[in-house]
């Protein structure tokens, strides 16, 4: 089902609204409790300032270092990559926080979000559509 949604997006099927390839989609598991998160909520999760939604821990996912991750950190989290690393270095030392999980790539990101409740991630908006497993919370547009 996940593969089909990726394939449909690539093929332009379903009459979905056009989004620029540079836009980033923040995605969550459609069956979890994260479907009403806002951008400030997502920022707090990626900064480790928030670890739970209600009583359930959230799985925070990252892509490997690259343009997409850098763009997400800049637009959604408000940090450069260096600032982000320093922030987490201090957070681990300060309170024993756990670093977010890095997945292999956009396809793996969608796959993990589709199968893990209470997980949040991001991918280029052109690679994903709403499905029964994956919900696009919002799109972070390119500047």
């Amino acid at each position: 089902m996940v593969v089909l949604c990726l394939l449909a997006a690539l093929a332009g099927a379903g009459g979905a609204s056009a989004v620029r390839a540079e836009d980033l989609a923040v995605i969550v598991n459609a069956g979890g409790s994260l479907t009403s998160l806002t951008l400030p909520d997502v920022r707090a999760l990626y900064l480790g300032e928030r670890q739970f939604v209600g009583p359930e821990p959230v799985v925070v996912l990252h892509l490997p270092e690259g343009d997409v991750k850098a763009a997400f950190l800049s637009r959604a989290v408000g940090r450069t990559l260096k600032e982000y690393k320093l922030h987490w270095l201090q957070r681990v030392f300060q309170e024993g926080a756990t670093l977010p999980t890095v997945v292999a790539g956009p396809e793996a990101m969608v796959g993990v979000v589709a199968t893990r409740r209470n997980s949040v991630g991001y991918v280029p908006a052109s690679l994903v559509r709403d499905t029964p497993d994956v919900k696009i919370l919002f799109v972070v547009p390119s500047p």
């Binding site: 593969v3 089909l4 394939l7 690539l10 093929a11 400030p40 300032e49 928030r50 670890q51 739970f52 209600g54 009583p55 821990p57 408000g78 260096k82 600032e83 690393k85 320093l86 270095l89 201090q90 681990v92 030392f93 300060q94 309170e95 024993g96 756990t98």
Partner: protein, 381 residues
């Protein structure tokens, strides 16, 4: 061919790209059957690899995890004429070892020890040591030795000078001096959110400190037993608003009692801090009171990024006391003191090493003004 079969075949056609590379996928039935068998083989191989990883994961959970992320922080210093010394000196700062461990999403452990090599004999101190359980963002319970919730600096900066924006802590927050910077006990902490506002709280109950009358220092008791007259309680509350990113405003308070001298000391603190991309500033103040006297202490600090790796900073600190204060007198601290520092911090390596240079003007009411030039090379690995 049924609609379902056609759809599956259509989908598999796109999956064939890693199998066929640039060649177009087959459309005849025999070709599709071969392709399906090939994909089934791949799936079986992947499932076998995954099952092996699952077994390895089970074994991984049984292996000891302390020390997997053992870190070290340290610093090396040089000073022109430190107070209490007659000549310029190099100094070895603390070597800090720390490690964290985690089980699942809720159980965490942290350990931080400091080796003070400029002491004779060399001291090995357990600075932080706690185990914690997170019920939710609203409630995290920790037990052990923590930094007392008496303000922004003491809860944000621990023993790794690499993270300090300046060379050292504000003098009023010096360890074993006028404010109890560590506590052994239980801590309840969490963040309460309502709309754009969040309120972070830290409530601690622990063994009370005691005064080392020989060395005239404030010591944390109860690493093993509580020799203090009563328990110490501390509470800190910090507010944030989404419309003011990077800005925090907080209040804190703590109270503790001694047998010698016989008094109860109460400390109320206020803090305002803002961290931004270019500018970071902190303002903190405390009122220290006992039945006989009131003292005021605080600092104002600012740092701003000139370039990516370079940040000048400045700080003004003060301690205003009553010479007859029995609490500060027992700590040899019942003397007005002011300090002005100004310097620059430069990243040698963005995540591992910084150098700092600063000028310090140290004024005590019972001594002449000291002017010092200081250098520090701090690191973390």
């Amino acid at each position: 061919m049924s609609v379902t079969g056609f759809t599956a075949g259509f989908a598999f056609a796109f999956l064939l790209t890693p199998v066929y590379g640039e060649s177009p996928p087959p459309h005849d039935a025999e070709g599709l059957r071969q392709t399906i068998r090939s994909l089934q083989d791949r799936i079986e191989r992947l499932e076998a690899v995954q099952s092996l990883r699952d077994v390895e994961q089970e074994h991984e959970e049984l292996r000891p995890r302390f020390g997997l992320n053992l870190g070290v922080f340290g610093d090396l210093n040089a000073s022109s004429t430190p107070r209490g010394q007659q000549r310029p000196a190099f100094g070895l700062g603390e070597v800090g070892l720390y490690s964290t461990a985690r089980s699942g999403d809720r159980l965490t452990f942290l350990f931080e020890a400091a080796i003070e090599v400029d002491e004779d004999p060399t001291e090995f101190d357990l600075e932080r040591y706690w185990v914690g359980y997170a019920f939710s963002d609203r409630l995290v319970v920790r037990a052990g030795r923590v930094h007392t919730a008496i303000g922004h600096w003491n809860r944000t900066y621990h023993h790794a000078r690499y993270f300090f924006p300046t060379i050292d802590r504000p003098f009023v927050l010096a360890y074993d001096w006028v404010l109890p910077t560590h506590l052994v006990g239980v801590e309840f902490a969490g963040t309460l959110r309502r709309g754009p506002t969040s309120l972070q709280y830290e409530l601690e109950i622990g063994n009370g400190p005691e005064i080392d009358t020989v060395n005239r220092a404030l010591k944390v008791t109860g690493d093993v037993q509580d020799r203090a007259r009563s328990k110490q309680a501390a509470l800190r509350i910090v507010g944030r608003h989404a419309a003011l990113p990077g800005l925090t405003v907080g209040l804190s308070g703590t109270t503790y009692a001694f047998d010698v001298p016989s008094l109860r000391e109460s400390v109320i603190g206020m803090e305002v801090a803002r961290s931004g991309a270019r500018v970071e500033w902190i303002a903190e103040g405390w009122r220290l009171a006992n039945p006989s006297a009131v003292a005021w202490a605080g600092y104002l600090q600012g740092a701003w990024k000139l370039r990516e790796a370079t940040a000048p900073f400045a700080r003004f600190e003060w301690l205003e006391t009553d010479a007859a204060d029995p609490y500060l007198g027992a700590l040899n601290a019942a003397v007005d003191r002011h300090q002005l520092i100004a310097g620059v911090r430069h990243d040698v390596d963005p995540l591992h090493s910084v150098v700092k240079a600063q000028y310090r003007r140290d004024s005590r009411a019972d001594d002449h003004i000291r002017h010092m030039a200081e250098l520090q090379w701090a690191f973390g690995f």
